[in-house]
């Protein structure tokens, strides 16, 4: 089943096993051991009290919770293995069922390379609108993160302005990573309910999902926990993302880093299930290695790529969908490094069928939004999409009749079989396969074409607007939070 105007990877023909069942079991056992013996920090009064009720060993002073393995395992079994992310346009709903990989934009950027001037500047609310509109038009982007921070919007309601800006400019699903306190979460739920047709309809039509970052190692942010509990209560899909980085916020060894991240994610996920059994939850991760020279979160590199493939093994083990960070790059402009990091990270996360693939559009460690980068990342996704279809072998694809027609020598360009199947071959938008002489006169490349496409979309694409009454009501809700 596919969604309107959305290109999604499904029915994969490629396979990759990064971890054996034995490896996964070891990581799981080690994780349970950490949660029981070392504990995880839950700096939220509500979360600590809930854990107390669930029978955990709670240290209210240090805000550390230690939980018996059986409690965690039983809780995780209550999580639904499959559900859908609803879109404003129901034809663009996304199935999270283990057989789809949906691409989303990256999020939380702070600067934008201006689409017209090419100058780098601080991100603002209009950027959120523009990016959403461009993403709405592409068939590759299936859902949105809030791509950049609306730094000109009031701090206390910024996350709400951002979500509305995306809904205003796109009919696709919105997953926000920028709502992490009770006030904004309550308001966001009200806003989502306006689109879904009521608070009681959100479970059936979750037009919004919430992603909360953990605070590695082995910790959480209090506001995030409270916001997640509010979302889980009404059936808004909620996930916890670990960004544990080898050698800084996690141990240097990859298995150890995964275990730390896993403890954060499954402890919080178990809490949601214990509080609201059956609430739709997802696993989220963007683990990486730290750069040994600067300590920086690298976002990219071979460890990143391996985490991309390994994390889905864990999400599958717990039988919940995964939202996986990909396309991260430290490159400062769309270049060799950005191409490698975008390609390998998205391939590794896709080949294992991560349900949500985050991250198109960013440079410099997810800080700087580039429309050209976004378009080229979309093309990378299209390449991976094509590769995942594998090679079909049957009488028609063996092409015996066509081969006999041509015989030794000659060519296949005039064959009906060629005409019938030629559009199955990948047609790049941004790869330079022109004669050298043509390049020589123009000296342009992928970056120019990608930017031109984004400019064209921004100029021409008019998404279906939000219902006027809904929009006004949302404005009222946002205002009430601002006061």
């Amino acid at each position: 089943m596919s969604s309107k105007n959305i290109k999604t990877i499904s029915n994969p023909k490629l396979k990759l096993e990064v971890l054996t069942q034995d490896d996964i079991q070891k990581i799981h056992n080690a994780t349970l051991h950490l949660i029981e013996k070392v504990g995880v920090r839950f700096p939220s009064k509500r979360a600590l009290e809930l854990w107390k009720d669930f029978g955990a060993d709670v240290d209210f002073t240090k805000k550390i919770v230690r939980v018996k393995p059986q409690v965690i395992e039983d809780a995780l079994k209550m999580a639904p293995p499959a559900y859908k992310l609803a879109a404003r346009d129901p034809q663009q709903d996304l199935q999270l069922d283990g057989n789809h990989v949906h691409l989303g934009t990256d999020g939380c950027g702070v600067e934008v390379i201006d689409i017209l001037s090419g100058e780098k500047r601080t991100s603002c609310l209009q950027d959120v609108r523009d990016i959403a509109r461009v993403a709405d038009a592409t068939e590759e982007v299936a859902f949105h993160w809030v791509a950049v921070s609306a730094q000109d919007a009031a701090v206390e309601a910024r996350g709400l302005h951002e979500v509305k800006a995306v809904w205003d400019n796109s009919t696709k699903h919105v997953q926000t990573e920028s709502i992490y306190n009770v006030e904004e979460a309550k308001a966001a739920i009200e806003m989502a309910a306006l689109i879904a047709g009521g608070r009681d309809k959100l479970r059936e039509r979750p037009v919004l999902s919430l992603m909360q970052c953990t605070a590695p190692p082995l910790g959480h942010d209090g506001g995030s926990l409270d916001a997640a509990l509010l979302a889980a209560e009404v059936g808004i899909p909620t996930g916890f993302m670990t960004m544990a980085a080898c050698a800084t916020t996690g141990p240097t060894t990859m298995a150890g880093n995964m275990t730390v991240g896993n403890a954060e994610v499954i402890a919080a996920t178990a809490m949601l299930q214990l509080a609201y059994p059956g609430a739709p939850v997802f696993y989220a991760a963007a683990m990486t290695a730290s750069d040994l020279k600067t300590g920086a979160y690298t976002g990219g590199g071979p460890e990143d790529f391996l985490f991309g493939a390994a994390t889905n093994a864990l999400a599958d083990f717990y039988n919940i969908p995964l939202s996986m960070g990909a396309f991260a790059t430290g490159a400062k402009e769309p270049n060799w490094q950005a191409g490698i990091e975008g390609s390998l990270s998205s391939f590794m996360a896709s080949v294992v069928m991560s349900d949500m693939l985050l991250g198109c559009g960013f440079l410099h460690g997810s800080r700087i939004w580039s429309y050209a980068e976004m378009m080229m990342d979309c093309e990378i996704f299209s390449i991976v999409h094509k590769m995942m279809q594998g090679i079909e072998v049957n009488d028609e694809t063996l092409a015996m009749e066509s081969i006999a027609n041509v015989g030794p020598g000659g060519h296949f360009l005039g064959q009906k079989h060629t005409r019938k199947h030629m559009r199955e071959l990948f047609m790049p938008q941004f790869m330079d396969r022109r004669p050298y002489s043509e390049w020589e006169t123009k000296k342009d490349d992928a970056r120019d074409w990608a930017l031109a496409k984004a400019r064209r979309i921004l100029k021409e694409h008019q998404p279906d607007p939000l219902d006027e009454k809904v929009s006004k009501e949302m404005d009222r809700i946002i205002k009430s939070v601002e006061k």
Binding site: G409, H411, F412, L413, K416, R419, R423, P435, Y436, S437
Partner: protein, 218 residues
Amino acid sequence: MSEELYKEMAQSIIDGDSDISTELAKKSIELNMHPLDSITKGFVIGVNYIGDQFGKGEAFLPELVMAGEAMKAAVAVLEPELIKLGGAREMMGRVVLATVEGDIHEIGKTLVGTMLSASGFEVVDLGVDQPADKIIGKALEINADLIGMSALLTTTMVRQREVIEELDKEGLRPRIKVMVGGAPITRDWVTKIKADGYSEDAIGAVKIAKELVGKADQ
């Protein structure tokens, strides 16, 4: 009636269907339609359409080749009739094509031939492994305007120069223009051997050929 048939003719080219274009050409003769009308009001419309679509990036090389082949098939039926009536199709120029001696690679050259035919050139394709005297001999025999030579290997592309030197020696240039092509051919090489033109692909070759016969605007 004939309007309907013209439309079908154009469509047979767009569909790249040589069987149907041949059949329609025969039918037009039975109906006593003028072969030149069938070409210009029927089949050529299809060729132009596919050419436009290709230019816009909406049609691809196989469609262009199939349209060219369907056109060629129709013209093969109509041309003898045209000659019987004492007429002739307007021709862009005569071309001899060959892959040079020692080289058996020909897909690029064959494509150039198909594209040139579809664009109104009369093309004699000698095939592969052709020595200079054969190429020049054929050019003189058919009074060619153009010789097109292909080579895929750096070891055989030197043969292109031999043909040009031979033509110069016999004073046949600039009457006969020379265009060259093949994967190893660069602008530097073209300048070095004093060829008249080159292109990196079959579409570009048509443009160059038209320029060389002084019909760039057609």
